[in-house]
C-alpha cells in the first residue's frame, strides 16, 4: 500500500510522519511512505488543513495528528 503524509515542514507534520512510520513497522505491512511538502501537490489532494494522511489515494485524516491506534486500524482494513 501507498501512504502519503501531506504537510510542509512544520513540527506537527514531522510528528505525524514519525507516528505513521512507527505504526507501519509495528503492524509490519508492506507500505511505501512518502512525505509531500510541495504546497501545490498538497492542495491537489483537496485537503484543507495539514498534516493530512492519504492511504492508497484515500484521505484518512486532515488537520490533526492521528493516534497510533487510528493509523493501525487504517493499515489493517
Amino acid at each position: 500500500m501507498e501512504i502519503k503524509v501531506l504537510g510542509p515542514g512544520c513540527t506537527r507534520c514531522q510528528q505525524t510522519e514519525k507516528i505513521v512510520r512507527e505504526a507501519v513497522a509495528e503492524v509490519s505491512v508492506e507500505a511505501q511512505i512518502e512525505k509531500i511538502t510541495d504546497t501545490m501537490k498538497i492542495a491537489g489532494y483537496g485537503v484543507f488543513g495539514t498534516p493530512a494522511v492519504v492511504i492508497d489515494g484515500e484521505v484518512k485524516s486532515v488537520g490533526k495528528i492521528p493516534s497510533a491506534e487510528e493509523i493501525k486500524a487504517w493499515l489493517k482494513s
Partner: protein, 390 residues
C-alpha cells in the same frame, strides 16, 4: 539539515567569533543591551502576558472547531460570508505560516477562489491572538488595536481587489472533492466555550494591567491596586470551569497544544529579542546601529519613511512575534509611529521566502499585485495613523 549546511553554519559562527571586535566599546554596549532587553521581556511580558496568551492560543487550536470555519471557504459558500470569515479567521486558524500556505493553496485551487484565498493569506499570520496581545502589551494598546483593525480591513480589501482584478480567470479553477478537518462531537454548548475563552482573556487583561499614569481618575488606579485579586478570582473560575466542563483527555490536548506553541515560539522570540537588543538597544540606549540612521530613514511620518518601512517589512522574514522586539528597538531609536504601523501591517504577512511559495501557487503576476496592494495600503495606513499618533 544537510551536512554541508551544518559545516557552513559552524564555519560562520567560527569566523564571527574570530573577527568581530568584541572588545570594542560599541560592541560591548550592544551585547549588554541585548541581555538587558531580554531581561526586560522575561520580567515584564512573559509571565503576565505571553503565558496566558499561549494558553488561549492552545485552547483555540484544540476547542474551536476548524471545520465550522472552513466550510465557509468551499466553492459554493456565500461570497460575503467567505470574505468576512477569511478576514478574521486568522485569529482562529493560524499561528504560523506553515498552516496558512497549504490552506491558502486549497482555498485558491478548489475552494472559494482567489478573493477569499488572498484575504485569508493576509489575515492568517497578521491577526493571531499571540501577535495582537504582545503588540498591545509591548508597544501600547493603541498600536495593538490599530494592528488588529488594520489587518482585518486589509484582508477584506486585498481579497476584494484581487478578485476584481483577476475576475476572469477564476473560472479556470479545478473542482473536486475537498476534505476539511473532522468536526468532533462535543458536549459543551457554544456559550460554555465562549465563557471559557472569555475568562482566559480577562485573566490576561488583568494580569498584564499596566500601571495607570499618575493623576489618572480614580477608576483605573483602583483596578490596578486590586489586579492580582481580580486575576486570582478569574483563575479560580477558570479552574472550576475546566473541572466541570472538560474531560481529562481534552485537558491533556489543551496543555499539549499550548506546550507545542511554546516550544515553537519561545526560542524564536528569545533570538529575536537578543538580535533587536544587539542591533538597536532599548529605548534611549545606544547600540550597534546609530540612532541617526534610523531617524533619517524611518523618523517622522513622511511618505518616504512609511513606504520604506512597508517595503522593508514586506521583504524581511519575521519569525512569529519577533517583529515586536525589533519594532520596539526601532521606535526607541527614533522610528515614527506611522512607519511602525506600516511595518507591522506589511511585515508578518509577507516575506521573500513566503513570496516564492505564493508565486508557485498563483503565478508571478498575481503574487506581484498581491504584494503591491499590501505595500501601498500599509504605506497609506501608516500615514494616517502617524498623523493621529504623532
Amino acid at each position: 539539515m544537510k551536512e554541508r549546511t551544518k559545516l557552513l553554519l559552524i564555519a560562520g559562527v567560527f569566523l564571527a567569533a574570530y573577527y568581530i571586535p568584541w572588545g570594542h566599546p560599541v560592541i560591548r554596549q550592544s551585547g549588554l543591551e541585548a541581555f538587558i532587553m531580554l531581561q526586560e521581556y522575561t520580567r515584564e511580558h512573559v509571565l503576565t502576558c505571553l503565558i496566558p496568551a499561549f494558553f488561549i492560543a492552545g485552547a483555540i487550536a484544540v476547542f474551536v472547531s476548524q471545520a465550522s470555519v472552513l466550510k465557509y471557504f468551499g466553492a459554493r459558500a456565500s461570497k460575503i460570508l467567505s470574505y468576512s470569515v477569511a478576514s478574521v479567521s486568522g485569529s482562529i486558524l493560524a499561528v504560523c505560516s506553515c498552516t496558512v500556505l497549504p490552506l491558502f493553496a486549497g482555498i485558491y485551487t478548489r475552494g472559494a477562489g482567489i478573493g477569499p484565498a488572498t484575504a485569508f493569506l493576509y489575515s492568517g499570520p497578521a491577526i493571531n491572538v499571540l501577535a495582537i496581545t504582545l503588540t498591545a502589551k509591548v508597544l501600547g494598546w493603541q498600536m495593538g488595536l490599530a494592528r488588529a483593525v488594520g489587518a482585518i480591513i486589509f484582508a477584506f480589501v486585498t481579497g476584494l481587489l484581487m478578485a476584481l482584478i483577476f475576475r476572469k480567470d477564476d473560472a479556470a479553477r479545478t473542482t473536486g472533492q475537498i476534505y476539511v478537518p473532522d468536526t468532533d462531537t462535543r458536549q459543551r454548548s457554544l456559550l460554555q466555550d465562549s465563557l471559557y475563552l472569555l475568562t482566559m482573556v480577562l485573566i490576561l487583561v488583568f494580569a498584564s494591567f499596566a500601571r495607570p499614569a499618575a493623576g489618572a481618575t480614580s477608576f483605573w488606579p483602583m483596578i490596578f491596586a486590586y489586579k492580582w485579586y481580580i486575576t486570582a478570582a478569574f483563575l479560580m473560575i477558570l479552574v472550576f470551569m475546566v473541572k466541570a466542563w472538560f474531560t481529562k483527555d481534552e485537558c491533556v490536548n489543551w496543555v499539549d497544544s499550548t506546550w507545542g506553541f511554546m516550544k515553537q515560539i519561545f526560542p524564536l522570540l528569545i533570538g529575536g529579542v537578543l538580535v533587536a537588543g544587539f542591533l538597536l538597544g532599548r529605548p534611549g540606549h545606544q547600540a550597534l546601529i546609530p540612532e541617526h540612521y534610523v531617524q533619517t530613514l524611518l523618523g517622522g511620518n513622511s511618505l518616504w519613511a512609511n513606504l520604506f518601512a512597508s517595503v522593508a517589512g514586506a521583504l524581511m522574514y519575521f519569525a512569529t512575534l519577533t517583529e515586536i522586539p525589533i519594532l520596539q528597538g526601532l521606535i526607541g531609536s527614533g522610528m515614527g509611529k506611522g512607519p511602525a504601523l506600516a511595518l507591522l501591517l506589511a511585515g508578518p504577512a509577507l516575506s521573500l521566502p513566503n513570496m516564492l511559495v505564493i508565486g508557485s501557487v498563483m503565478g508571478v503576476k498575481k503574487t506581484a499585485i498581491f504584494c503591491g496592494i499590501i505595500v501601498i495600503m500599509s504605506t497609506i495606513a501608516g500615514l494616517i495613523y502617524g498623523s493621529f499618533a504623532g
